[in-house]
């Protein structure tokens, strides 16, 4: 069974959303941008169902949901509050915290990992992008 067959459900949703799909035989790469965070979450759910502990080491799922400066983003930490930092890096001082579930504003995407945001108290700083998800 090829990887494309093994992960057919994932490949189908990827193709429907015009993502790039590349099966090297060793690793199935799915990359690109989807319209909503729901699609991204759905893809991770499918991936997790097919490989519950992510131990097959045969998929790279690099999917981001579309978001632009000025959009609202939701804090999606598991339980803790999200640090807002002075600069883009975990070595930077914490200047504020956002609650889980808070909806805050994206000022700009500094890089893939760090986004500059403004919280509801008007405080600005950098958050780790994996804990932010666009609100559609």
């Amino acid at each position: 069974m090829t990887l494309s067959e093994k992960y057919k459900e994932l490949v189908d949703i990827a193709i429907n959303n015009k993502l790039s799909v590349n099966d090297t035989g060793k690793v199935l790469r799915i990359e690109g941008e989807v319209d909503t965070a729901d699609i991204k979450d759905k893809m991770w759910e499918i991936y997790k169902n097919l490989d519950p502990h992510f131990k097959s080491n045969d998929v790279v799922l690099n999917v981001k949901s579309k978001v632009s400066a000025g959009d609202k983003v939701k804090v999606v930490t598991r339980e803790s509050r999200l640090n807002i930092r002075q600069g883009p890096g975990t070595d930077q001082p914490i200047v504020g915290k956002a609650e889980k579930g808070d909806i805050i504003t994206l000022i700009n995407k500094t890089n893939d990992q760090w986004w500059l945001v403004r919280d509801n108290d008007g405080e600005e700083g950098y958050c780790y992008s994996q804990y932010l998800e666009p609100v559609n």
């Binding site: 997790k48 502990h53 992510f54």
Partner: protein, 178 residues
């Protein structure tokens, strides 16, 4: 009288013929030597081969290409990094004087990919990605992230999403899932 004259005429005619013949053979000899000299220079496969190899050696991209010439047909062998260089080697040799055709037996062997930039980018992002997962360690080589240590099952997907977002070639998960 007539007979004598006739006899002399015959002798004269023979002498003329011999002179003509001698001049002719000298001319032929000169022509033969001359042509031979020119032909020798043009026809030597070894000379053509040297010239073709020199043309190849002049380009560092073609340093892995060898040429042999037989009956003015050049055969090129060796390895290059891409199809364009393979074609370029062929046209370089085809452009050498007296090469009538080129047999291109060059093999294209692409260079191994250089992952150093990707490894640097991944390493730069790894500390932040692992910050909330202190029991996990990670190494990066040739774009492959290998994780070790231990992680709670409920944190695993979060960590995997962070690592996948670093756009690695592969993720090898050797971590113990608790």
């Amino acid at each position: 009288m007539y007979r004598i004259n006739n006899y002399n005429d015959t002798i004269n005619l023979k002498l003329e013929n011999m002179k003509l013949l001698r001049s002719l053979s000298i001319l032929i000899m000169i022509l033969t030597i001359g042509l031979g000299a020119v032909s020798c220079k043009k026809l030597s496969d070894a000379d053509i081969q040297n010239e073709a190899q020199a043309a190849l050696n002049a380009n560092p991209d073609l340093s892995g290409v060898m040429v042999t010439v037989l009956n003015k047909v050049a055969t090129i062998t060796g390895t290059v990094e891409d199809e364009a260089t393979k074609s370029y080697a062929e046209s370089t040799v085809a452009g050498v004087e007296n090469v009538v055709s080129v047999v291109n037996e060059i093999v294209v062997v692409p260079p191994p990919p250089d992952y150093s930039a990707l490894d640097n980018a991944i390493n730069a992002g790894l500390a932040d990605a692992l910050k909330d997962h202190p029991k996990v360690t990670a190494t990066v080589q040739d774009g492959v992230i290998t994780i070790n240590g231990e992680i709670r099952e409920r944190d695993l997907q979060t960590l995997m999403e962070k690592l996948n977002a670093l756009n690695p070639v592969q993720i090898v998960n050797n971590a113990t899932v608790k």
